[in-house]
Assembly symmetry: C2
């Protein structure tokens, strides 16, 4: 029944929290299936999940708890920012001279920066900004981001319309 499950549980708990790029702790097919269930409905009962993935309720409970503890997934409410009062969003491309990492850390510390990623290409960093209004956005971009040491230049892409936003990784 739950046979195809057997995967590598060898290097499960590696200490490296930095391993993002290299691929994190291996997840077997069952954990993947559990995550998919919770991506459809974060409040689905453990018993129902167990039935769907071929595990007992207790086992699902344990695995979910572990996935949460390990930080592999989190169960949260997500909203459209516009409906909760954030009227301006923008993607900002950043060019850096010197240490990209330290700039990224500085941006990460800003609450308005919802998403920070280091990239290859004509930008070193891409940052998604969520603001309440134009003034707020202007302040963040021109005064805060450009004030970070090492930031050479920025280019902004103000959001006109959000067309798609999914959280269905692994559900394909």
């Amino acid at each position: 029944m739950h046979s195809d499950v057997v995967a590598s549980r060898s290097a499960e708990h590696r200490d490296s929290r930095e391993s993002r790029t290299g691929g994190g702790p291996q997840l077997d097919a069952v954990s993947l299936a559990i995550i998919e269930q919770l991506q459809e409905d974060g409040r689905r009962p453990y018993a129902a999940i167990g039935k769907a993935v071929g595990l007992s309720e207790a086992a699902v409970r344990q695995r979910v708890q572990k996935l949460l503890d390990q930080g592999v997934m989190q169960i949260v409410a997500v909203t459209d920012p516009l409906t909760v009062g954030f009227r301006r969003q923008a993607m900002v491309g950043v060019n850096v001279e010197g240490d990209v990492e330290s700039v990224a850390d500085a941006l990460t510390a800003m609450s308005e920066c919802e998403y920070v990623v280091m990239t290859a290409g004509s930008f070193d960093l891409m940052v998604e900004i969520v603001c309440e209004d134009d003034d707020h956005l202007l302040d963040v971009i021109n005064r805060r981001i450009r004030a970070v040491p090492g930031v050479r230049s920025t280019e902004s892409f103000v959001y006109l319309r959000l067309k798609k936003q999914t959280y269905m990784w692994g559900t394909r």
Copy 2:
């Protein structure tokens, strides 16, 4: 004994120029508070939420259900794509000739496009792509996206490292 949060029940006369893009029902302070609770923990019991926002368990349940039905929020599991087997991600800027909307729709229909937004700036669209490997990414960008009628050019920013990814809108 209603509490602190409920204070502004009758004073919700803020200038509600509802912005079009997200449109949607005005959220009062209580619903906001409920959302914040669920952003911290999507599985938090209704009774606990009620205690926190000053409402009964049943009332919280009804409001949450309505928020879900209305599509204002969804409760889901979110993960780091890298830990679930998607090793290549990229942000792609797209320039369009002709109808931007129809191109956006075409991209939205692709399962690999996790995030699609229409922007102002040197790109008409920004698209986040989630792929399993380099071949997959190459295929999506060069063969699928560029094949969409109206796409004039694209520029890719391959993710090197995800530094921050939050879902705490409204929790500031």
